[in-house]
Amino acid sequence: MKKILAILLAAALVLSFAACGSKEPKDNGGDAAKSIKVGAILVGDETEGYTLAHMNGMEGAVEALKEDGYNVTLEYKKKVPEDTSVETNANNLIAGGCDIIITNSYGHQFNFGSVIEQNPDVTFVAMTGDLAAGSNLPNYFNAFTKVFESRYVSGVVAGMKLKSLLDSGELNAKDYPNSYEGENIKIGYVGAFNYAEVVSGYTAFYLGLKSIVPNIVMTVKYTNSWFSEEREAAVGEFLMNQGCVIIGQHADSTGAPAAVQKAHTAGTNTMCYSVGYNVDMLDVAPDVVLTSASNNWEVYYETLFRAVLEGKPVPQDWAEGYSEDAVYITDLGSACADGTDAAVEETIAGIKDGSIKVFDCSTFTVGGKNLTSYTNAYGMNDAETITNENGVYFFDESTLRAAPYFDIRIDGINEIASDYAE
């Protein structure tokens, strides 16, 4: 049995290697303009919110394009680690007839090998990556959303709540002395890693909050993991015990809101509300979650698929926000203050028409000074990142490249040491 099996396996291997001519399978032609195949190399699977959001985005785009008579087929490769498996899977997907290859994790982009050069007819997109523009490869692209815009709006939601707590007198220095640092009210933020992507996000959240309640200070504590319910719960509890009234997050689990809900249900004398990320977290923490900042990847995927289907150029370093509905905040929780809806609408309208700049330099200081120039953003080759438009200086995020590069530590935000090794 073993011998027969061995002989069969050996024969199969020999035959396949012998057949390795230089023949490349030809495109079956057909109506190439009307139908394409997309191969997605994913770091997780549907159990992980980040990857699920991408899968939903692609499937949504497929449905939308179906109405225009286009036929897009998706093929997934799930749980692909950031190693040579990327190259292998990309090659295999192309062998299977894929016209577009998408990767969804930052580290995937280092492991394409030479597959991009070797397949000039295939479009490659490294989502959240930052190497495509500099690679001079005409079929290689990057994309990201301007999620800092929806983080700013989620900050406004939290600010409205905080304002109503102050106005009603529920939150005051006498009953909650721990929540005050001098005149300022304490806010917390559960961050994943100290990368620009996270710094950009928490600063946007802080500035959104500050646009409603000016006297706030924020503490950021990292979990050193993109997804860890346990760590996020522990950091959430820590921030609650510090007296933080609002806890935002840039980490993928529901650990922090669940911790806040637990304290709320237990009836401890803490006043704390939570703002989530990526997905609606109300089912986990119905009484304390205000909203979640989120991405709508479908907008990009539809743009990408349509460009390839219609033979149009694919945008390099695509980054869109509210103007294309590529970002949004999830449904408001019951804990939100009255009038939040109107404030949200007003803010979104402001972002859309340009009257609100998220990183308006007049709204924050660094070392006590307002910035008019910043050329030290990591990985940006000393490029000027601050723009002056009609006398208003603002940090121009996600314009020079899609991936965020705001890495300035502004006054009023305090990063404290992580309990977890990197």
Binding site: M1, L13, S16, D45, K78, T84, A95, F110
Partner: protein
Amino acid sequence: MSDSNKHAAKEPFVRIAKNGLPSAKRAIGVRAASLLAALILCSIYILIVGRGEVSLGNAFSQMWNGTFGIPGNVRSMRIMMWDTAVYAAKLLCVAVALAPAFKMKFWNIGAEGQIVMGGLATAIIMHDFGSLPKPLMLILMIVVCVICGAVWGVIPAVFKAYWGTNETLFTLMMNYVAMKIMDYFYNMWKGKLSALPTFPKETWLPSLFDHSYGWNIVIFVVLAILMFFYLKKTKQGYEIAVVGDSANTARYAGINVRRVIIRTMAISGAICGLCGGLTVAAQNHSIAYSAEAVHTVTSGYGFTAIIVAWLANFNTLGMILISLLIQFLEKGTGQLGNSFPAFAVGAGNVMIGIVLFCIIGGAFFLNYRLVFRSKKQPKEKVKTEVRDTDA
């Protein structure tokens, strides 16, 4: 009469008896039966988990595609067979490394750490000594990974040989130390980036058969053959077997047990180190962070290889088949998850478990047999009972 009934009731319904050496026919029969049982159980499992939406033919053809490529699509078959070959070779290499230690009854659970240390040593050469002349650098890359792997294996061996520490716990803990050392370098080299890029192409091992990892397959398979002869035909191999059977007998026969333990673990660690070094130099061109779901330097094979070594009964040539089988299961179930959402979350691992359970269960029937209480009494039994009633 009632007396004899009472006596018969004492015999258990089923008892286990030890077999002699199984005949070749029986061995083949048992193996075939266990694979058949695995196939049937997996089929039932697929039908249940797939809720009838996944046909068996579809499921097994996806598993085939994930391992050997899309049938008829030469390009896909070539890509996937090479990929399967390199991972099977890597798994084989670690199992080969474990074979001498296990044969000596030294439970080396530390292959992960030994692979990591070898990989890290090579990575340091690639990262910091890329300016050396290439031949010198390549030699250094190989030498340091072998040495570092061997050192990581020898440390617990010395403690075991001189102070009788428990090698299972010791080697296990050494894994975590090694992982954290690699994390340190990973974070240092990564700096402010959110992932570590690959090392410059000039430092990679040269390609063979058009694949950067071509050498790995050749070297790992050659190692398996060499290890087969080392264990079966050399004096040192014999010493390992004697120490494994009984350390006291070995001592009585004049074998220096301490030396054998340390030497064997040096070999075991060195091969693991080489596996790590070659993985970094020829396949991944980078190191990994221990909190990732898959540690891409080890692929978790430091643990998987334990099963391979046991299933092949420490026969390093038999390990080639078992490694291929494990690859088929890993890649096949992975593709099952890619194609059918129902199989995405760990469902594939259950299938791997079912197959391994059946094979290990089959091995039980090679060494033992079940004896059922039968109504027809065996002849000797009848005789004794007659005597009993006589009395």
